[in-house]
Each structure stands twice: as C-alpha cells, then as structure tokens.
C-alpha cells in the first residue's frame, strides 16, 4: 500500500490506512521530534499526537502533495509548541547556534567512524543548549530543507508572539544562513 492508497483508505474511515502511515514514518518522525524536544518520551508523545491530529484532519490533506514532508513539518511545529510550553519563554544563556553549525560542518567531512560518532553526540549536546525556536530553526533548515522565507514564516506564525524574545533566534538564524551562503 503506497501513501496515496493509505491516505485514501484513511479518508474513507479505514484506520488500516493510518496504521500503514504510522508504521512507515513513526521512527523518522520521532527522530525529528527528538531533535526539537530532546526527550524521547516527549518526542513519542508529540508524534503520537501529530498522527492523531492528521487522522482527524485528513480530509484537509491535499493528496497531490507528498505526505512525508507534511508529516515532518507538522511534527516539528508540534514539537516546537510542546518544547516552548515545557521550557517556557526565557533566554538561553548557554546556547550557541554557530557551534552547532560548526559540528555539522565537521561531521559532513569526517572520515573516521569514531570521530563521526563523537561529533554526532556533540551536535545533540549543542542542540540541547539552544532555545526551542533556535532548535526548530536548525531542524527546519537542515532537516526539512525549508527555505529561509518559509522558516521566517514558520518561526513567526502563528501571529502575536512576543516579538522581542525571538530576536535571539533570529540573530542566530541570520548567522546560520550567512555561514551557509559563505559555504556555498
């Protein structure tokens, strides 16, 4: 059963379609959520919640678009909501997005498996020190391949957030994107 068939069955009330989608994407979705919430149980809760939301909103899903990016964007958005509510609005005193990007850059060219494994641990550790929105920015850019403009929208919408608190994320996002341009 491919994604289209599963979604069609789900739209027609057959939760066997949902089972197929859950089986296919749950691991990837939990990994994406974990990168934002940094808690395995919480990541599973987020993905479980997202699949149930999709089940309830499946009539709105446009079958002409791919399911996987839709799911993963929804997961990251939900994970950001949860992380912010869990961790609250506050300022990160430790996080350094440039450091995350540095580890990523090193990991992309490392030859040794042991060194690669260490770098991955450092990436996770560095991510955990960022504020939720900064983490989400990294995941949106490098995991979901969202454009800068899409990221700006995703980080600012829904509307009405306290603008000043986003400044840190924006500045670091700007730094991140600037470095990426330099790398290209």
């Amino acid at each position: 059963m491919d994604d289209l068939q599963a979604i069609q069955r789900l739209k027609n009330g057959d939760i066997g379609g949902l089972e197929a989608l859950v089986t296919r994407y749950q691991s990837k979705a939990v990994r994406a959520a974990f990168l934002v919430v940094h808690d395995e149980s919480l990541a599973e809760d987020v993905v479980q919640d997202t699949f149930i939301r999709i089940y309830r909103r499946i009539q709105h899903f446009d079958s002409s678009q791919s399911f996987e990016p839709y799911l993963l964007r929804s997961v990251v958005n939900a994970a950001l909501n949860v992380a912010q509510r869990a961790e609250g609005r506050h300022l990160s005193l430790e996080g350094d997005l440039a450091q995350v990007e540095g580890w990523l850059s090193q990991a992309s060219s490392v030859g040794s498996e042991i060194e690669y494994r260490e770098l991955k641990q450092q990436i996770i550790a560095a991510l955990s020190k960022l504020e939720p929105r900064q983490r989400a920015a990294v995941i949106q850019r490098y995991y979901l391949n969202m454009s800068e403009k899409e990221m700006a929208v995703a980080l600012e919408a829904p509307p009405g957030t306290v603008k000043w608190i986003l400044n840190a994320a924006r500045a670091k996002l700007r730094s991140l994107l600037g470095s990426e341009r330099s790398a290209k």
């Binding site: 027609n12 057959d14 479980q48 909103r57 300022l91 990160s92 440039a98 991955k120 290209k184």
Partner: protein, 750 residues
C-alpha cells in the same frame, strides 16, 4: 555544503540518542476514536536554582476572595462578567483557492472581545515574499457604524503543516451592538493568486447560554508590605479539573522610568515543601495575558500546574529577568571602505563605547545582502540580550545573543547598501539582571475536598452524561432481553489478523464469521440472514447460517462502505476510480446484477441510511466546512442537502427515514449527541461530554434496527488507564445499560 548530508547527520544523531524501537501504533489505535484527548507533557526536572535572597509572601497576610465578576473560560481566557456574556451565533468561514479562514468561536465580555480564528488548507506557502510583508497590524474588528476596535492581544494557539489557529483580543463590542466584521490577518502569502486582500467575516453575537462553562477565579490580595517588598506576586488562582492555574506579576520596584522589565531571563522553578519539582507549563496564552505588560513596567505570568496532590506550600523561584533600557544610547563611526561586498568582514575595529553604563566594544562587522551586522562584546561580563541599531534611514534587522559572550544587531537598507564612512546609533539595549525572587502558595482547602468544577456543575441535563453513566456503571441493571437484531464486533486493531464476530447486542453468543478483513464496513440483508462486507478483492456476501460466501462479480478491489437497502433490493457502495480522487456512489442489485454509477460527482462520502422504500440513499459528505447530510434520489440522481452539524458528525438515519442522530459542539468545552429531524430541527440532546475532561467521553454510535436503542462507545479513564466499552441507551426512557465487551462495534443489524 550539501544540505542533505546535514539532514542525514541530524537523523543519525537523533537515532543514536534514542533508546528503544518506536512502536506507537497500539497507543494511536487506542486513541483514534476518542472525541477528545490531551497531550500529556512530561517535563524534565528543572535544576533547583540557588537561593540568595528569600522574600516570602506572608500567607497570613494574604486575602483570598472568589472574584464576583472575573471568570475563566477554557480556550478564551479571563473575562469580566460585569456585563452579560455574548457568544458567536455560529461559526463563520470563507474559502478561496482552497484556503479556508474561519472564526470558530468568539466571546464578548465587559472588558474584551475574544476571537478564535483558524486558517486551513495551506499546502505550501504560496507567496512567501508576500507573507513576509504581512503582520498582525492588518487584523481588525469593525462595527456597523464604521468604527474600529483596538486590538489588545494576539496569541498563536496552534500551528500545523497546513494551517494555524490564533486568538485575537479586542476592546469589547459595545452592549446593544450584536454585529461586527472581523478582518483576518494578512493572507497574501498563503494564497496562490491572492490580490487584493479583501477578506472580511461578518460576525453575529447572541447572549451566552446559562450553562456555558465559566470557572471561578480566586483573587489573591497580598498584604501591602509583602507586595512592596516582593517583585514576584501571585494574584489569581483557578482550580481546573487537573490542577491549578497560578497567575501573577513581576515588577522590580524603584526602576528608573526608562527601564522596563520584559520577561524571565531563565525559566522559573516551582518546588513543593519537600524540594520536589512541581510539573508546570507556561499558561500566558490560556489566560490571554496582554502582550503589553503591567503599567509599572513589569510583566504578567501564568503557570498551569499539573496535579493537585503536593506537599504544600509550593515555592516559585525566579533568578533572572530581562530589562530594557529605553533611554540608553551609544554612537560610533564605522568606515566600510569605498565598495563593500556581501560577506565581507571587518575585524580589529578598536571601537569602544559605553552602553547603559557598561563598557562595550565592537567585535566585528559582517556585510550582509541588505546591510551590516555588528557584533559586540561586553567588557564587564554584562549579558546583553539585544540592541536596536540604525545607520541613517536603515531599518532594524535581527538582533540577539551570540552565546553568552557576544551579541549582535543588523542594520538593513531598503535600497542600495551604502559604503564609506557612516555613523552607527545603538539604542534600547536589553540586559539580563540577576536576582533571586520567591513567593509561596498553598490552597485554602484540601483539594481532595474541593467542590465539583464549574464544568460538571454546568453540564446540561441529558440522558447520558459522565455522572449518569458512572451511576449506571456502579449499579448495573439487568440487560433487557428484547434487544433487537445482531451486532458485528472486531477486536482492537493491534491484532495483526483481526477477526469479525457476530453476536447478540449484549455481546453474548459471539461467533467468528471471518478473519483478516481490514475494511470495517458491514451491512446485512433486511432479514439479517446475509452479511455484506469488503475484502481486499471486492465486495462479498456471506450466508451467516452456513458461512458460505460469494464475491459480487462486478465489484472491484477497494470497493467499500456497502449498505444494503431496507427493502432488500439494492446495495449502495463507494468506489474510488483514481488514486487521487474521492469516491463515487455506485449501486448494484442484491443479486449482483445491474451495476451502475449513481452519480457523476465524487466526494468524501459516508453512506448512512436509506428511505424505507429504497427510493433514496442518505449519505454524509465531509468537506473543509465539516459534515453535511445529503440525500440521493435514485430515480432522478438528484442530490439535496439537509443539514450540517457544527463541529460534529452525522451518525445514523432512523429506520423510518425521518430522523438523524448526530454529534455537535454544544459550546467550547462540551460535545453533544442529538436526535433530530433530517433538517436538524426538533433536536433533542441525548448525551453530552466535556471536551476538556480526559476522564469520560463518548465516541461512535450505532442505532438499533428498530431505532429505539443507541449503542455508544464510551471512553472512561481511571488511574491513567482508558477503558473503551459500549453502552446502550434507550432513546425513549433514557435507560443506560453499560456492557462489558471491549471490542470495536462495527454494525447493529437486523
């Protein structure tokens, strides 16, 4: 750098950090039929913060009073009830180019107008360059006399891949005015060809029903001495079903007029008397706290505590806040040379200045595509969070911290980026101020002795509620012996090879009739002798007495939703003709002959019932606006609309073809189950459940063949375990009969 490689690295790093194989299906399958759910947050324990200064709110000096006028409406926030509450008469929506904007709920109180707005159907950001021009300022409310209401606050409530939900708060619509126009936020970036912006939603308000849930707010008035000494004050307490919402303010005393406390610097902690962390989430959005903070320049806060059983009292601790210095400025000269280029970096600048009384030096300057980003470092370890920057007529770009050591700010230009010597002006720096502030609280009474919540007090009187069900469950009555027909059951779907059983309506005399069927649609012939169902390769009819089954020759793999007509002559079913389309309705004679497509239209259809003479088929169509009950006349192929329940579903058609069973939102927090005429008139509320409660709710229903009983799936949670069971409800007498079997109820047939 190859971005896909970055993605693979992140994916692998996350995978390395996970300790177990992911298997979410059992939990998801157990929840998909529930009407309501709530994500349970598991908070990581917070690090206990060091305490340097202990300023305790003297509990003996606090005055507790239940606010006579202030109430809390879940989903809306705090409301002043000095004037009668008004609500939206009905949800209002508009759809254009596949994007639906909707005002789902609105409340007018004495102090505000609250609008809950959603946007749905965004598959991609169509014109992100337009969206970046949009902001909340386009959002508004206008009155019939042409005047506009001032917007007080805006909160994003939820966001997902194809839309978002937000809540906007305006000044109150004056009493006597019951119509207003809501102008949604800028939508151009979401629309494929949106131009111009002319979205307007006409809202009509009616008096709020008396049973609407408004929870009491306990206002805490600390003694004057405590309030003067302690910047951290608790002001309001709301007891919810699952815990407490604590709300208060933070005001640093004696701040100069040009300094303003904006927000927590680090997350506060809440601990109980034993030093254990108390789980909580930030609840600013729940109370709709205004974006502009307190008049004294501090800020408001709200925490939602998870649970009621703690070692009292609780201690809230804050150890840093962010302070903005609106009067502080600094200025310096920077020479970019004759022809600066994007990506160019200037270092070793030797630029030193004082900002808000602290020595600062410029670390470097980076030429960006639209301007210059300046990075600074404080020479006295002061932690700057941000600073505004301007060069001539430049615009403010991004500003923030680059780790603990430095901070930056970007000046952007609408046109060409200037080069050469320029004067740089810094203003409005935000600095983290350390301190340790505490306050304590405990409830006035033992929460185990608390009175019932407002939600349960205000639940409408109906046949089936959480209370009436629990009473019937605790004192079970004999199951009636004259229940009509048979039921079809299927175990929960975590069984890899699920069986379907036929049984008496009370679950007795259960007999397996097949295995491995993944499609959950079952119907029977009018005499109940033959079952009609789907299998992977088409539609089948089974003789229930012998077990013999035959495939309907003209059926195809994927045909589903079959429904045998009450006269026994016809079978209706759904067929998807292309993988990307919705299904069409097909008809076939009961003997398998005469296949025909009943309508050229396709839709998200659900077959619900027939007229007794087989002349017309009732079905529900699900669109972005929700479910609509429709009737298809077989002789003419005409489709007519009947009724669209708000926020609910069309469950069944009564056997006489004159009535409908459906679910619908009663209000923001309660879901109802109704029986009514086909057009929704003469409705009777037969069951209700609180959407905010996790302890009891109802799910799908099946009407008995004689139309006298309704089988309802009940979800009851005790000790973190949700049990799903079926309860029978007599529609005439309100007799409630909880049953013991746990299987999925597929059909109740003759």
């Amino acid at each position: 750098m190859n971005e896909k490689l970055y993605r693979d690295i992140l994916d692998s790093a996350a995978g390395d950090s996970l300790s177990r194989n992911t298997n979410l299906w059992p939990k998801i399958s157990a929840q998909v039929e529930k009407k309501s759910f709530m994500l349970s947050l598991r908070l990581r324990p917070m690090v206990l913060l060091l305490i340097a200064v202990l300023v305790l709110l003297a509990l003996s000096g606090a005055v507790y009073a239940i606010g006579q006028s202030l109430g809390y409406i879940p989903g809306i926030g705090l409301v002043d009830q000095n004037a009668p509450l008004r609500i939206l008469a009905e949800p209002v929506g508009l759809t254009r180019d596949g994007v639906t904007v909707k005002v789902e709920e609105a409340v007018i109180s004495a102090d505000k107008t609250v609008i809950k707005f959603s946007m749905e159907g965004v598959s991609q950001y169509a014109n992100p360059q337009d969206l970046t021009k949009c902001d909340d300022r386009s959002t508004g409310m206008s009155l019939p006399d042409g005047s506009h209401l001032n917007m007080i606050a805006g909160y994003g409530l939820d966001g997902w891949a194809s839309g978002y939900e937000a809540r906007y708060t305006f000044d109150p619509v004056p009493s006597g005015v019951n119509d207003a126009t809501f102008i949604p936020p800028c939508l151009q970036g979401y629309m494929p060809n949106a131009n111009p912006e002319d979205w307007k939603l006409a809202l009509h308000f009616i008096p709020a029903p008396s049973q609407m849930t408004v929870m009491p707010v306990i206002e805490v008035t600390p003694s004057l001495q405590a309030a003067n000494q302690n910047p951290l004050t608790l002001e309001k307490v709301i007891e919810t079903d699952n815990g407490y919402i604590l709300a208060g303010a933070f005001n640093l005393p004696n701040l100069p007029p040009n300094e303003k406390v904006l927000q927590f610097g680090q997350p506060p902690s809440i601990t109980d008397a034993s030093g254990q962390d108390v789980p909580f989430t930030f609840a600013d959005y729940k109370l709709d706290l205004p974006a502009e903070k307190t008049p004294a320049g501090g800020f408001l806060w709200a925490f939602d505590l998870d649970g009621k059983q703690f070692d009292w009292p609780l201690t809230i601790t804050v150890n840093s806040v962010a302070v903005q210095f609106s009067g502080a400025q600094a200025q310096f000269e920077f020479d970019a040379g004759p022809n600066s280029t994007d990506g160019q970096i200037w270092e070793n600048l030797n630029i030193h200045f004082e900002l808000a009384g602290h020595p600062v030096q410029a670390l470097n300057v980076i030429r960006t595509p639209a301007g210059y980003q300046f990075n600074f470092v404080s020479d006295d370890s002061t932690v700057f969070n941000s600073v505004d920057i301007s060069i001539g007529d430049s615009m403010q770009g991004l500003t923030g911290m680059n780790g603990l050591d430095s901070f930056g700010s970007e000046a952007k230009f609408a046109g060409a980026v200037p080069s050469g010597r320029m004067t740089v002006l810094l203003s409005h720096p935000v600095i983290l101020e350390s301190g340790n502030w505490q306050t304590q609280w405990k409830p006035e009474r033992d929460p185990t002795l608390s009175t019932p919540t407002a939600a349960s007090q205000s639940a409408p009187q109906t046949c089936l509620t959480a209370d009436s069900w629990k009473a019937a469950f605790a004192n079970p009555q004999p199951i009636p012996t004259d229940l009509p027909g048979r039921i079809f059951l299927q175990p929960k779907l975590d069984d890899p090879n699920p069986a379907i059983y036929v049984a008496n309506p009370d679950g007795s005399n259960k007999q397996e009739v097949g295995r491995g069927w993944k499609f959950q649609f079952v119907s029977t012939s009018p005499d109940g002798a033959q079952a009609l169902f789907s299998q992977e390769d088409g539609l089948y009819i089974m003789n229930l007495a012998t077990g013999d089954k035959r495939r309907i020759p003209d059926s195809l793999p994927g045909d589903f939703g079959a429904l045998w007509s009450p006269g026994g002559t016809r079978i209706a079913f759904l067929r998807v003709e292309s993988p990307t389309s919705y299904p069409s309705i097909y008809m076939i004679n009961a003997d398998g002959t005469g296949l025909q497509k009943a309508t050229d239209e396709t839709g998200d259809y659900y077959l619900r019932g027939w007229l007794p003479d087989d002349s017309a088929l009732f079905f529900a169509e699900l669109t972005r606006a929700g479910y609509t009950l429709k009737k298809l006349e077989l002789s003419s192929g005409t489709i007519s609309d009947f009724f669209a329940p708000k926020g609910g579903n069309v469950d069944a058609i009564t056997p006489d073809g004159k009535g409908v069973v459906f679910s619908e939102r009663i209000d923001e927090t309660n879901q109802g189950l109704y029986i009514a005429h086909l057009d929704g008139s003469n409705r009777r509320l037969i069951a209700s459940a609180s959407l905010s409660s996790e302890s009891w709710s109802f799910g799908q229903t099946k009407l008995s063949p004689d139309g006298k009983w309704l089988a309802i799936v009940i979800y009851a949670t005790t000790a973190n375990q949700t049990d799903e069971s079926v309860t029978l409800l007599n529609l005439a007498t309100c007799q409630i009969v909880p049953l013991s079997y746990k299987d999925n109820l597929l059909a109740w047939t003759p």
